[in-house]
Symmetry: D2
Amino acid sequence: MSKLTYEKDITALLVIDPYNDFISEGGKVWDRLKGVAEANQCVLHMSQVLESSRKAGLRVFYALHHRYRPGDYETWKYVAPIQKAAWSRKTFEYGTWGGEIRHEFQPQPGEIVAQEHWCSSGFANTDLDLQLKKHGIHKLIVIGLIAHTCVEATVRYAAELGYEVTVIRDATASYSDEQMHAALDVNIPNYAGSVVTTVEIVESISSLT
Amino acid sequence: MSKLTYEKDITALLVIDPYNDFISEGGKVWDRLKGVAEANQCVLHMSQVLESSRKAGLRVFYALHHRYRPGDYETWKYVAPIQKAAWSRKTFEYGTWGGEIRHEFQPQPGEIVAQEHWCSSGFANTDLDLQLKKHGIHKLIVIGLIAHTCVEATVRYAAELGYEVTVIRDATASYSDEQMHAALDVNIPNYAGSVVTTVEIVESISSLT
Amino acid sequence: MSKLTYEKDITALLVIDPYNDFISEGGKVWDRLKGVAEANQCVLHMSQVLESSRKAGLRVFYALHHRYRPGDYETWKYVAPIQKAAWSRKTFEYGTWGGEIRHEFQPQPGEIVAQEHWCSSGFANTDLDLQLKKHGIHKLIVIGLIAHTCVEATVRYAAELGYEVTVIRDATASYSDEQMHAALDVNIPNYAGSVVTTVEIVESISSLT
Amino acid sequence: MSKLTYEKDITALLVIDPYNDFISEGGKVWDRLKGVAEANQCVLHMSQVLESSRKAGLRVFYALHHRYRPGDYETWKYVAPIQKAAWSRKTFEYGTWGGEIRHEFQPQPGEIVAQEHWCSSGFANTDLDLQLKKHGIHKLIVIGLIAHTCVEATVRYAAELGYEVTVIRDATASYSDEQMHAALDVNIPNYAGSVVTTVEIVESISSLT
């Protein structure tokens, strides 16, 4: 793990989709995520990484999925399967508790919330890349949901766009171990320079303080 | 399979990385792809889909990985793992046979070769999206290599950018069955509206003639 | 004007920044725009083009500048001059009348409001390109403000991204005739296939009904 | 001019379209550019800025227009006016002297040539943004042709994408003084933080050595 070195002024934490619908008891998708999320203590680990990032003075960005609103998809000629699912489930419905960020992960003043994305990548059709550049960021530490959809998509895009990426493997979750394996072991190691644990990243970040 | 309908003027075939280094005996990566590629007759199926697309008058596009040239990466501050691999292996070296398109898949006059991509997505930092728009294309039929890297990346980007995608599951290959499974069964079905066989797509395309 | 033909299903009206701060008496920027805007009856013409587009069943999209919020720019390392101006003037301040769309141009159900842009182009770092593709749009009719900044920037981007553009020269305004000339006569004709009057476009659109 | 400070590791020179067709006697477009280009000693100044950048160790990037090849546009459904002009003139024809870079501006080893662009912006549908990020660049010094098309387009895109831009006003040219004025006085000052002379930039760059 000798490579886990970050320069404070070019490194940021990226928190993906910490919505109640995903990671809070009672959320629309929680029942499907619960098994994996609890097994790896996803929420606890996300909190620990966020807290240590804030303590170390790393800038924090949020990549959030589009919150469902009536009329979103009715006029689209082309709707991807994952968008059809979001449409039928009304995931992250605007104005509801499920579409709110879980309380531990509320953005604080000075933290940047990128525009909502329509599919899975936090970069696609949003201002995330712009906001990162405006703050001089080149390295991303990534936590959040869901490992094989939004997290993997955002990591792949980050690599395509030139960022250096670290993924925290026990600060994410999927519906199944198979999906976790596909994301964290098969695919993401091609695009993220490091895939590490919360213990490892917290130790590394803490040394920045 | 009742949904496999394509309108000729808005549908295109997208051929990904049919380089000798990938799918020809003697290519730098062939030995690692050979097992899966031969098991599903990847090259034969790619040829069949290409031939039937041409017969039906579908427009054909090529998304090609950057061909290695000396000096490509030496000055980069941030290099993704998959780019480090391409760098050390000199995959698709410019001016060598391995960096040429396998003969069955030579672009013909009127077919569009997009600019070479640097990572895995045929869309990232290239003119592929522009070329598709300039030709009025909204639906893509995708074949080529490698299933869990360039193919999955290009399919994910296509969905993010608004395209409707069909992936041909036996006209692609990876290094292992596990990678094929991660790409074709776990991830791509979230982004491609259809994942079908060569027999199925050829039947559907042929009806366009 | 024989070339002004539009196919209803691939053509849309794009309305740029019809904020009170720009085009309503009392708006923060109105005093600077007033001279040119009144001379060419900008607001009236914008209304006429919008009305005839709706009547003809053309889809309508809105490209809106970011509404100012405290904290927007304080942490940015790099701020363009036009962003510094927006910052100091607090143009389109969120939650104020100036940051609301002038009443004649309120989006109606089924019309698409793209994410807010940070500089001048309605396409940069937003979902405008995605929304246009999701609706199958290839041709844009452009009205709104300001001719040499947001309108020209959006038209240039539209051309770069593959769209065919028509600009309505008397349904826009700048601070000076010189700026109008730079935008409408010097630059935009390189990127927009047609630069026409409200009378001409209304006649053409009406024939679609 | 107290603001002209550049940090070597985040600043680059961007040279736009130094093709023989533009700035060499006998080039296809030279006769139209000659008047303005000679009046402001455009080629001499471009050379001086390039030389001083190289001496100071600034990284150098090239944004080049697509070199014309037969078949480029025949199949496009939508062609912008400036693309129609390039098509009919066969500007920068591939394989001809006009499509070569003028000798003073030949890229040297370690300098980066971005993929060719199809319209006017060096960023649109190319890897320029990626290459700049891979090298950690945030500030651009811009020279080259043509002031009101490719230079202005690239400067506008650079600002939209988050870069800080300096334009050298006597190291560019247009067909007319009116176009120079539209670009350098009316539009670019909204997007480039500084618009300065060759003398000023060379002095500033030299202090970096």
